[in-house]
Amino acid sequence: MNDRHADRFTVRPKFLAWLALAIALPILAHATWDYVEARRLRARVDAIAAKGEPTSIDQVRPLRNLTDADREAARLYRAAAALASDWNRNSYVPLAPPRNILYSAPQNWSSAQREEADRLVSSNSDVLNLIDRATAIEFSGFPPGTDYSYRFAEVWQLEQLASLRTRLLAVDRRDTAVTSVHVQLLLLQAIDREYPNTFSWFMETIAQDLALVIGHVRPTAPALASFSTVLEALDRDDRVKRTLLTYRAETLNNGSPSLARGRPSRLMIPWEAMRRPYDLHTVNAVADMQAQHVAYADLPWPQRLDAFRDVDLGPFGELKDVRAMQLYASAMAVRQEARNAALLRTARIAIAIERARVSNAAPEIPKLIDPYSGEPMRVKSDDQSYTVYSVGSNGRDDGGHARLDVTFRPVPSTNP
């Protein structure tokens, strides 16, 4: 018995030494990985900053001193939004009749829809008045400092209301429809400065309303000139790059819990410390991918679009990988921007044609490139009107088909 005790006593220290080493080695591996990923991230952030690109959401939307005009416009937008917050209670079920007025052509409205549109516009005249006053002010943005602001959603609601007014006035062939659609364009400009990635939400409606107004009301030369100025300012080639730079700044800000702002104490959350190298690795991988996307955004159309052609934008299904989601977001931004550019350019060409018609001169059509094909935009005339169009996402000329191509067709009035 004494011998057995003696054996156990002499073996234990050696076993403990090996056990301690077996525990220490994974810790060393974890620390090495943690350091390597943190070092890579710092090098990446330094390289981004050296290029003058934003590494922080604060740089995308910097804290700045608002002008008196900004404050006044923001105040009016807020007041309009507060008054309008309940204007379209059923907007969450937009296809439910008879309130689907926003999603159907006003020429095809039933009498019930027309009645509803009249009621909504007249009961919100104060709101529309505030919108008119706000858009008349040179506005550079809402008070900054938030990553996402509900104010944007409110402005979107205001745009819908302004769109409804434009449609009503246009089908009645009232000249004030021109002013109303101009207000919509100015709202779009305000949004473009703040949230370029949401530009497409507005652009689609505004292009339709503009076509309706041009076809029904026939704006004067000064009105067309002002449309042209706003559309030309909006037809910026850097919108998609700004969007992608914002996405990357968001990744760097919030991609890893160990980097996210507002964390009280990282040491208090052991699980986060444990998974930190993997988090940092993911941030590095996503930032690498986004750097590639930013480089794609510098390519001309349609190569910019081709770079994302193979990305599947179908439903996610079970795929919840951060990289896949960011790839989806970038591809979606580029495709939406292609459509925005196509809509803006078709509208610009249509306005150039209208200006020539009003002044009885030969049209000087601006040489604008179709983002989907890289070729000039196309124009097709018929007995009733004309269609300016881009070949659309299928890259095929479908002769100005309303759905297969991206079209701008001044809607002729059926009434004499």
Binding site: P13, L28, A31, Y35, R42, S56, P144, N253, L259
Partner: protein, 111 residues
Amino acid sequence: MNDEDLERKLRRFRIVRPPERLRVAVVDRGSGPAVPASAWMPTAAALIAAAVLYWLSAYERAAVRFSVDQTPVVRAVNVELVARSLGGGRQSLLVAKIAVLLDEPKQETTR
């Protein structure tokens, strides 16, 4: 029974010396299979290296955080500005800190 008899009887029960193997294990450990201090060196080195790497990683992350989150920098500038406009001093600094924190825009993910 005299002392000698007593001593003779007690000697029958007295342990003169422990068994040799036990004695070696207890008294003379140096000559047995015990682990030398150097066996702990790799573990110690690994732990020290890990601690240094964690420290370096924290340094790198702090540098990154400084670049990607400039809220503390902006806040410090604002606090100084407000404190100066309040006349300076400890009390002004205290009030300025509270005023700046209250004035900061908050996250507005919900209404």
